[in-house]
Amino acid sequence: MKLDARTPSGPIENRWDKTRFDMKLVNPANKRKYNVIVVGSGLAGGAGAATLAELGYNVKCFCFQDSPRRAHSIAAQGGINAAKNYQNDGDSVFRLFYDTVKGGDFRARESNVYRLAQVSVNIIDQCVAQGVPFAREYGGLLANRSFGGAQVSRTFYARGQTGQQLLLGAYQALERQVQAGRVKMYSRTEMLDLIVIDGRARGIVTRNLVTGAIDVHMADAVILGTGGYGNVFYLSTNAKGSNATAIWRAYRRGAAFGNPCYTQIHPTCIPVSGEYQSKLTLMSESLRNDGRIWVPKKQNDHRSPDSIPEDERDYYLERMYPSFGNLCPRDIASRAAKRVCDEGRGVGPGGLGVYLDFSDAINRLGIQTIAERYGNLFEIYERITGEDPYKVPMRIYPAVHYTMGGLWVDYHLQSTIPGLFVLGEANFSDHGANRLGASALMQGLSDGYFVIPYTLGHYLGSNKFEKVDENHPEAQAVLKQTQDLTKKFLSINGNRTVTSFHRELGKIMWEYCGMARNAQGLEIAIGKIRELREEFWQNLKVSGEPNELNQNLENAGRVADFLELGELMCMDALERNESCGGHFREEYQTPDGEAQRDDEHFRHAAVWEYQGPNAKPIRHVEPLEFEYVQLAQRSYK
């Protein structure tokens, strides 16, 4: 496999302009002759589908939820970054680019990140024009707040529901195109496989989740905006339905997987309360603007927080990272929390928690201001824990939140299969080894509104397409395989539920491939996952019928894929003999416990190529060049 990132040359600030100029265009009258499939209706897929339809392409959009408005982008709370510099505090496109590359621990492609920073400003304009009710100042202009990993205020927000409002903007744009007849929407329809004909992505196989019908859909190009794979850990902040099936089955058809081990553990989530726990709830990182994080200085201190005097508290982020303090990046804050809990200073049941305390902020700003900024987050917290954060400090603990890895894409967001494009969290492109807060929404919308509309046109305009329909032998073969797989799940008739396998996989991943990893543990994990996968195919119990709404059957397919993906993540983590961003290998740390990169040997993206079931995939590398950002050890001290 030859990796061509198609990275443009020349001054970085001109690269996207130049690329756009060099791209082929499709005549407006011809656009409607092209059929495009978009899988996923979140910020990336929804924005992409709407924009492509506006341009005149024939779009089919698929989502597994009952409505495109439910895509998991909706749950993003804190905000979206943009280099508007409305605050006049020193921000610029270059600074956003720099912060993102540095925040990603120098493991992202410079050209992609620069483009992201450039179009960030257009995103805010577009969303405001759609009627997204961003927070405003009394003068009527847009408000900003600061976010982890940045020293400027560049984050736009809509209370604690920024993702919801941006997604509704994209959803409404999408529905406008549905009404216009340019998008055919397939809700409750899950992509189960990719159809590749003559080396190009030409269609997908789907299951209608209500009738169970398995169908073929053909197109001239396929776009995946299907999100991340954090649910491989079972417990994560992802929605229950978030899954890797679309990208994983594309991987099995030849789309290479970039940096699968890069996982983001978010520092501020509500701690686990019991075995029955089905998911973890994030408390927006924006809380770290005004909340102070601390644990008792003494081990096993079970006093209530208000009876621990000030001088017996350790505000460890402020102590360890004085210049960023509570606003240091996510990977650093998460590891610091793990460290103090490992020292026996954690709080709450099981000692797996730290305090996030608002009492200083309430004294300084008043309850009213705090309520305006974080009211809905405080309500969520109280609803879940039964404790009132206006009176008692929140207890938080890190949880799996985002996956920086994903299908490898070039500068055009095309995977290693021509005609298969991958947007948003589903690709690996912009965040390196760690994503900064408020950058996921930015990337999803950038890819969907402002990148794919150009690059897809170039692909369509520079290729000839044979007419293929669903009777093509390759399409029929993939259809048959999908039908057989569905039957297989229902015929094993074992003794163990899908959830029980998923939960066990999650525990293995969290234990050995979570916040801290080491070679020995990763090898153990690979062995355990293989055993578990073997048992899965012998002992799985799926109830119900194939031709009906069968949530158990849906989950079986998703967990089967997680059982393979988990192993790949561990292999990738094992081969990357360095620490960087969210990937922390205990063997590679500085004397004071920070991530120790090895730029000489690992300044590259690891790109995995599938070799067949139970065969070891091949690890390719895409070297990363840094012309504009000086490689340095990340310091937030």
């Binding site: 009952d66 577009q126 024009a129 009627g131 003068g139 229950k240």
Partner: protein
Amino acid sequence: MTMNLTLHVWRQKDVTVPGKIVHYEAKDVNEHMSFLEMLDVVNEELINKGDEPIAFEHDCREGICGSCGFMINGVAHGGHKNTTVCQLHMRHFKDGDEIWIEPWRAAAFPVIKDLVVDRSSFDRIIASGGYVSVSTGSAQDANSLPIRKLDSDLAMDAAACIGCGACVASCPNAAAALFTGAKISHLGHLPQGKPEEMERALSMVRTMNEEGFGNCTNIGECEATCPKGIPLEVIARMNRDFIKASLQERPPVAIAGAG
């Protein structure tokens, strides 16, 4: 603390066959569980016994995606203020409680299975006009149009709707006025939404009626059970816009021109 509960759950194979209430015992329920986690545990037991698990809709489980929702003891989402079913925790119940669980009931929300209903009518209401017609790329600078903070806040209040359908399920008329009014108000409070305000009201209200939702008679059950606190005044705004637009409505003018 744990508790034992008796659940009475609506089971229905699909829209073509009648459903019925089936009784289940939920044992040793932990007070820190969410309501859906309690159902997860019941479902695991059902699968282990070879029975069909109870189908219910859910996704984010943090109260924002709008997927979940059913009637608990006759009240949408269980009746706790600003709380969806996924955020309702078992500490609000006590040992020995009997809980009745039924799907949203409305002609415009046909049952798909058990507690899962078809809410695609909501999508069609939005598709008929719940947007600003601004294609990607045609926006001006975001700060070129200041918006009074109050208007922006009111728009946000209405935009908080998650489209769960509790308003419809709670309404004796199965009206979708709160849902439709929320979108009309969200966009109507903003200058970006003004140019299409009248067409939007006409189109969305007509679609709402065509989809088989009932009429609003100002009962207020919707506001009382809305998990996002959408206020009744959005319905007043919808009615005002609709009446105004109806009076102004003209047949489209044929465009003639040279070239």
